[in-house]
Symmetry: D2
Subunit: 382 residues, 4 copies
């Protein structure tokens, strides 16, 4: 019998955006059940949030420390089995650390932490504890992203020469943070977001996607980082030249002042034999382009696809799966890995998910891209 895995949540109180996403993602495949939470720094709000979510009052905690301490004392058949962290960046480290130290696996929103030091500490803790740690770089959960990665891995495009990854958004074109809008507020605040604004919030997604799909690491970058909106304290736009370990060249640009853009993450990769193009806003389509023969439109559910791609779709072709399903894939794969570990089995290699290593790499990207933005030197080593 398949018992649901019991999840405790840190952050994600009423009105939060990403907390709700995590809950839907966790619920979708019927493998995970929310059993407790410390949803807000405000105890009342935390309790109200828990009540709204149908939790028992005694599983709604005032603080993550209380949650971890008390849950640990519960009977193993009742207590939470992992912690989901959905707070702003500056509040990732403390609960993650405490959870790991108390034997709870963690799934954490990105970027990994507030700064590089925390990231390295977490990496160490994960290694020491042997616990599973997942980072929700959710865009890698799409079936067509898996397909893209496998096509390159199997050499279908030949050696990679050029990568163009973009993440334009327009929602911070105006000083929205001055209106008190919650999402804008903390993302533009150095005390909660860290040294980067757009480059941390979405630039890291772009970096992660490029490295995930190509299987190549960025080795050098050259960045022009800007803050366009007067009064804003962190970057809202960045243009970056990239160099990859194999000699490939690339461009990464991310923006939150690209007026009129929604959430237009996209990537193009060109090899010696062909190229591919994927766009998050139409995620079930992967264009594969060839030298002097027709472009192919790969689609979720239309075979033949690599098994890695097939393993991340739920419904037949033409029934669009979207952002929440890709996000749920991360949770599903994390849950499967937890079950495998509990059973003493190897996790299914097809059901991968971003790890603390991806998180460290993302924090390095933030550090280096901001450093480059301030530098007069052309290239900064990654």
């Amino acid at each position: 019998m398949k018992n649901k895995l019991r999840m405790g949540m840190v952050g994600g109180g009423i009105g939060a955006f990403i907390g709700g996403v995590h809950r839907i993602a966790a619920a979708m495949d019927g493998e995970i059940e929310l059993v407790c939470g410390a949803f807000s720094g405000n105890p009342e709000k935390s309790r109200a949030s828990g009540a709204e979510l149908g939790l028992a009052p005694d599983r709604c905690y005032e603080h993550f420390e209380e949650m971890i301490r008390r849950e640990k004392r519960l009977h193993p058949d009742k207590r939470m089995q992992f912690v989901s962290i959905v707070t702003p960046n500056h509040l990732h480290f403390a609960p993650a650390k405490l959870a790991l130290q108390n034997g709870f696996p963690v799934i954490c929103d990105k970027p990994l932490s507030f700064n590089m030091k925390e990231a390295l500490a977490l990496e160490k803790l994960v290694a020491q504890s042997g616990l599973i740690f997942a980072l929700t770089h959710n865009y890698t959960g799409y079936p067509m992203v898996k397909q893209a990665r496998q096509m390159i891995r199997h050499g279908e495009l030949g050696p990679i020469r050029k990568v163009v990854v973009e993440y334009p958004q327009g929602w911070l074109s105006t000083p929205l943070e001055q209106s008190g809008q919650k999402q804008a507020d903390w993302r533009t605040d150095p005390a909660r977001s860290g040294i980067a604004g757009a480059m941390g919030d979405i630039g890291t997604h772009a970096e992660n996607l490029a490295e995930y799909i190509t299987g190549l690491q960025i080795t050098e970058l050259c960045a022009d980082i800007s803050t366009f909106v007067p009064g804003r304290r962190l970057d809202d736009d960045g243009n970056v030249l990239l160099r990859f370990e194999n000699g490939a060249k690339g461009i990464l640009h991310a923006s939150q002042i690209a007026a009129g853009e929604e959430n237009n993450l996209n990537i193009r990769v060109y090899g010696e034999k062909g190229g591919l193009e994927w766009r998050q806003m139409e995620p079930n389509t992967l264009l594969v382009k060839w030298l002097d023969r027709p472009t192919q439109v790969y689609r979720t559910g239309v075979g033949p696809l690599y098994p890695e791609a097939q393993a991340h779709a739920r419904i037949p072709a033409g029934h669009p799966e979207g952002y929440l399903e890709a996000f749920a894939n991360i949770y599903r794969n994390f849950a499967r890995a937890l079950r495998a570990q509990a059973a003493g089995e190897m996790p299914d290699p097809m059901l991968d998910f971003p790890s603390v290593r991806d998180g460290v790499r993302g924090m390095r990207f933030i550090e280096k891209v901001i450093e480059s933005g301030k530098s007069k030197q052309k290239w900064v080593k990654f």
Copy 2:
């Protein structure tokens, strides 16, 4: 506190397509919990399915009769609060009838029933019982479908003149049913599907979508119904001329032998002042076309939208919501209506869902379109 509504399911055993969809849809918003089921005509399979889903053994029933009878005897705080029916067409009527007769609201897959007689009987039962009955014409759950309906309702396009609704699929281009493929098998079997194949399975979705978006009823039709695959016992293609109550003209065509098409439901509506176009495979986009000014690209989450559209999106613009989310909207709205009824309140009119009346209309469509296909007369009254 928001307790989850307790759902019992009829059909949807391991390996079924639509049963899994219903379960994800029900789970997504955290408002519904599956507590029991009669998942298969085969008792062992039913029990195995329930176990796989994490249900207690004593809530996995051998037959829907047993389920309804026994659940009824459970304490009101424990027993299921509604029945979800996800069986093939010929097995909708009996469980729906029994559920209604025993005071359980029903949410049922489409088409409503095996034939018109059953449909009318259900309509009567729903009226007599005062119970809520939902039919999963899931495509009307998309935000941009709601937006389209409201734009027409508010006269933005002027009086409607022409409607083109299409539902091409290609998956039955070969005699797939002869391979034993489960979905193909029952859909092409008159004993389980009814008098229609493609026209019942997907033609009814097209008919429902056209009437839902335009707010107009079809009054006459003229159909050319075909079976292209040798040996197939039901139609796999149909082309239909439509006339609407207000004098508008239309075309409806549906096919399961449109080779290379996935699930390409789409609609275009033209009024005196403008037209609109919506395509299920890119469901977050609604094109609105005008006389001599630029076409507008309405998008889920990009304002201003009608509140009816906004009420059916969960996440910000550019984070694609798809088939499962639209399906979940039907479940969410059904659940909200149940809660409102339980509380003696009026349901929120924005949170609408297809009812038994839509189901009767769909069955009438099946009856008339097949009748017209056999007729030498041009027009058949709807």
Copy 3:
């Protein structure tokens, strides 16, 4: 040395739409030179038009009779070598007949004539004279239309089962003809357009395209023909069920009241093995869809293409060729056929163009579709 072929034009005075198109199409490839014309029923306007076009005053005629009579008397090295007819429908027959009777080949705008009787008379005259006659069903001049035809001809899609051809326009959504707009004026006037409005003007293009691409003839049709704009004297919308000689089924709809549509001619064809889709507004793309493998995006200039497609493109892939180039292909092919005939050679079979037979078929379509629109019987034999 390649002398240009000398063209005389009937119709197409200042302010005409299609006359200018014919002139650009004739000029584009440097094979044809306009040397004379009877551009308008108004002698002054005809002369002014000729002057504007840089013609010598003595080659600007008051009437096509004068033009044909006088040009015939000129030295063979100077006189026009063929006649281009670009008048409204009711003025195709007389000049075409006179030209053929006097030994001049003809290229004529569509539809062929005002009525069926004229069409048959022209067909006879062409046969008797042995002269070349081209009809400007220009949409068949696109490279990707040629490619589509060849793919079907070579069996790549298998036997054809279903055809959907659409021609929605919106420009006559209002009673534009009442404003005196020239194009609307004659197209909605039975005395100049014939028995059909939209079905003659654009429905024939759709019919021609469907038969050209599939290589199949329509054998039966069932039409619902409408006039939506009050006061309009001819149809502005039509929905038609089609049956083809091989058992394929189809839909043709054309409209000039599809508000917000520009010139959206498009076609989809489905065979047993795959389907294709072409849209005139993005004419350099041909989608080819397959059973359970990725759709292919065929593009003008991206190999491998059939030689018939390659022979109708001028510039490399990605340099879009459009309406005028496709139109010019008809003129170029007509010119090549004239040269071949003059040289006593067979014309290049790849450089085909619509003939008087296509014109007769188009007139038959107009006759039958209007007949069906008035009939209570379902099917009218084509």
Copy 4:
């Protein structure tokens, strides 16, 4: 009466790509007539080319010097009225100089010259002579490019913040030049192309388009210039960070090794109030994006458009005009300017075309982008 302007051509012999394009572009609107040419450095080939084009033998010259000298001696009513130069880059300067020195206006392919020195000399000569000089940056001839420029000029998008201009092609992904392919051969040869390969051939188009549409000048750039194909002697890829005079930031990348790309020039511009997107391969569409209201799809021929856009379309909306028409717009506008100058009138300001100043700017771009590619310093002043 409108006599055609008489054109002499330098280069463009049989088999050349761009020469044929220039001839079609010149012929299309019936305002220009090719009367003579020095089509090849090979006298026989030049003569054969002229004969193929229907020119009199005595107007087919062995060399451009002969052409200019002899034509000058012809009667003003017969001699060529301007020179079109369509040779490879290293052969632009000499004929342009000689033409200007002998009183002939010039229309010249891009880039302007082989190097900066030549460019400045030509700029001076144009100024001294008072003659009209056009450069065929043909992509600025599209109606939707004109519309984009005017929208920005009129402040519809607000102050510009970000520009992304791309020009990916894939046709040089392999060492095509080693096969003797003519286009690849000279474009990859420093002796004929100059210091740049892809950046000169297509990078300059991107630079020109960005400055034309935004009305802003690039002031600094930072480039990563690559040669991916072994043995190639010039760059085949470049990624460039841009800074504009008003503080806007940008990215320009151009490639000829973007495998599977055709001729995918495209640009996105973001201002404070909105953004726009134009793609050369679908040139009749201009997307205009807004903060929190629906994106608009501007289309050639669909009003309201700026008169500058309308003045560059020939046929109604939905009848696609493409590359050749945009190219013809440059010729048409150049011809109109010549006529205006001849008549002592001011040229129509709506009918603009790229000038020698654009050419100098393009040469500066080539110089600076190659310099930056070799530099370890981040920014190079433009």
